[in-house]
């Protein structure tokens, strides 16, 4: 499992979607989501040398602590919790798809608890929770890894789009009420971009 390769892919995808993420956050957030993501990714990329000598579990944990101390805001503790939980549940350097799906689901659970939030509140969880469930379902099917990646990519895009019609009840846009209708949630969008970056790469492998 080459985490460093995925981080590089995510970095590229986030940069490509800068204007959309920033535009959504300016419309219904406070305009700093892209900056915070970028700061976290840059900090992770700066540790490439150290990370390359570690086990997958150690890598996840170190990334989690780095994200916790560099990102700040709400996304810092939430993404940090994700990586720390992944590190807890993936102990093998070549984990099976089922184990990855299981770990992903537990990591998303960690975000849910830390943020005291759930689906339907117009947040990143509106992508992460359904994707985690879908991933577990597909991982135990007979589909190939490429097919699963393609499915999850499309599913994540659908989930992000669905946040357009949701009323925000958690997070920075919750003060907006109905004015947030019609805008995708920036956190849901950035999570989708990251998931799609990894899935699209796997599809082409």
């Amino acid at each position: 499992m080459d985490i460093l390769k995925y981080i590089a892919l995510i970095d590229h995808a986030i940069n490509e979607n800068e204007s959309e993420i920033e535009g959504l956050d300016r419309a219904i957030g406070d305009g700093d989501h892209f900056i915070n993501l970028k700061r976290g990714i840059t900090a992770i990329l700066s540790m490439t040398d150290q990370l390359s000598t570690m086990t997958v579990s150690e890598q996840f944990k170190m990334i989690g602590m780095k994200v916790l101390s560099t990102v700040g805001g709400a996304s810092g503790p939430l993404f940090a919790t994700f990586f720390l939980e992944m590190g807890k549940h993936i102990t093998d350097s070549k984990p099976s798809l089922q184990i990855i799906a299981e770990a992903f689901s537990k990591a998303v659970d960690g975000i849910k608890q830390r943020g005291k939030s759930d689906v339907g509140q117009k947040t990143m969880l509106d992508v992460l929770i359904p994707v985690a469930a879908k991933f577990q379902e597909l991982a135990s099917s007979n589909m190939s890894t490429q097919e699963i990646a393609a499915d999850i990519n499309h599913f994540a895009i659908d989930c992000a789009h669905k946040t357009k019609d949701m009323l925000p009840t958690k997070g920075r846009s919750s003060g907006l009420g109905e004015r947030a209708l019609g805008h995708m949630d920036p956190g849901a969008k950035s999570c989708q971009v990251m998931i799609s970056a990894v899935c699209q790469h796997i599809q082409g492998e």
């Binding site: 300016r26 305009g31 700093d32 900056i35 700061r39 709400a74 996304s75 846009s173 919750s174 003060g175």
Partner: protein, 334 residues
């Protein structure tokens, strides 16, 4: 965007270094991780640590000193500080009577302080400030935001801690003061985050945002600009509604502390005009303002606009408000 700026990435570091040098008699600024403390630490009192995103200056570092905070953890602009900052600040102060975190109610601040509270080895407690009347509180929202009432909470609890109050009594008084505070803000223009380089929100020249938050996040409604008196009347009414919602009784014996707070881009003369209009409206309710603070205390970078905070006093809170304070931005009785 036009700002006094070199490299946007160094904005915070340069600004904090300047703060430290300008107030070298009061403050020490620490980097990696970033936190600000009093020049001389008294570990034998409850250590008050606040923090939050930068851009709200003088909150919180400008309120460090005798009778107020012991330490503050500034995050990046409008971004919560990270747990390692709070842990380092507490470690530096070595509290023998516990550390008290004063946190404004934003999901980022709450989560980062929560993780710091879980990870630090020192005894600690937290106060959550949520004085903003603009956001209607319900089980479906993150809740009311913490705004300029934070200054009052920090002043009152700071005085109690300075006078030997223990952790539990500081928490109780802080929660009581928070409950008695209510604030509402109005923006005339947006603010611009230095790193972002463009305004946080778009607003027409003749529009105002009623109920705005201190990051330029929207509030209750966007509307046409109108005479100040009528805007201030709506602000006071929103606060009085909020007090009612909190079951706080107002009578003609009620004594109030009023803060008219600028968001950074509004001149003091306009803030005093708001103060004048607010007093007139409050006298119509037979309410007496007996303590006041007018100026920029909880800002939103360069946003034009202002907030009004009312705090329902009692003798104990009034005495703690009057107690000596010596910080970069609030100083009396010393």
């Amino acid at each position: 965007m036009k700002k006094f700026l070199n490299n946007p990435e160094n904005f915070l570091k340069e600004s904090l270094s300047g703060l430290g040098k300008a107030h070298r008699d009061l403050l020490q600024v620490h980097f990696d991780p970033t936190f600000v403390t009093r020049k001389s630490i008294n570990s034998d009192k409850v250590i008050l640590v606040s923090g939050g995103g930068s851009g709200h200056e003088p909150l919180h570092a400008g309120l460090i000193g005798h009778g107020m905070l012991d330490a503050a953890c500034p995050g990046h602009v409008f971004t919560s500080p990270t747990p390692d900052q709070m842990m380092a600040a507490v470690d530096f102060c070595k509290p023998n009577k516990g550390a008290l975190f004063i946190v404004k109610n934003y999901s980022g601040d709450v989560m980062n302080f929560e993780m710091a509270a879980e990870m630090t080895s020192y005894e600690n407690a937290s106060i959550l400030v949520n004085d903003d009347a603009a956001v209607i509180d319900s089980s479906y929202t993150t809740g009311k935001r913490g705004v300029a009432g934070t200054v009052i909470v920090e002043k009152i609890v700071g005085s109690l801690a300075e006078n030997g109050g223990d952790l539990k009594s500081c928490v109780d008084l802080g929660n009581e003061v928070n409950q008695r505070c209510s604030s509402i803000g109005v923006a005339l223009s947006s603010c611009t985050i230095p790193e972002a380089g463009k305004p946080t929100f778009d607003i027409e020249d003749d529009q105002i945002e009623f109920g705005v938050g201190i990051h330029g996040e929207p509030g209750r409604r966007r509307e046409q600009i109108r005479p100040a008196q009528t805007i201030v009347k709506d602000m006071i009414e929103a606060i009085i509604e909020d007090f009612k919602g909190k079951n706080l009784a107002l009578s003609n014996n009620t004594e109030l502390l009023m803060i008219v707070n600028g968001f950074g881009g509004t001149p003091l003369s306009e803030l005093y005009l708001i103060y004048e209009n607010a007093c007139e409206i409050l006298s119509g309710y037979q309410l007496n303002v007996v303590r006041s603070l007018v100026g920029n205390y909880t800002t939103a970078l360069d946003m034009e606009g202002a907030s009004v905070t009312l705090c329902i006093l009692n003798d104990r809170i009034k005495n703690h408000w009057d107690a000596p304070v010596h910080t970069a931005s609030l100083r009396w009785g010393v």
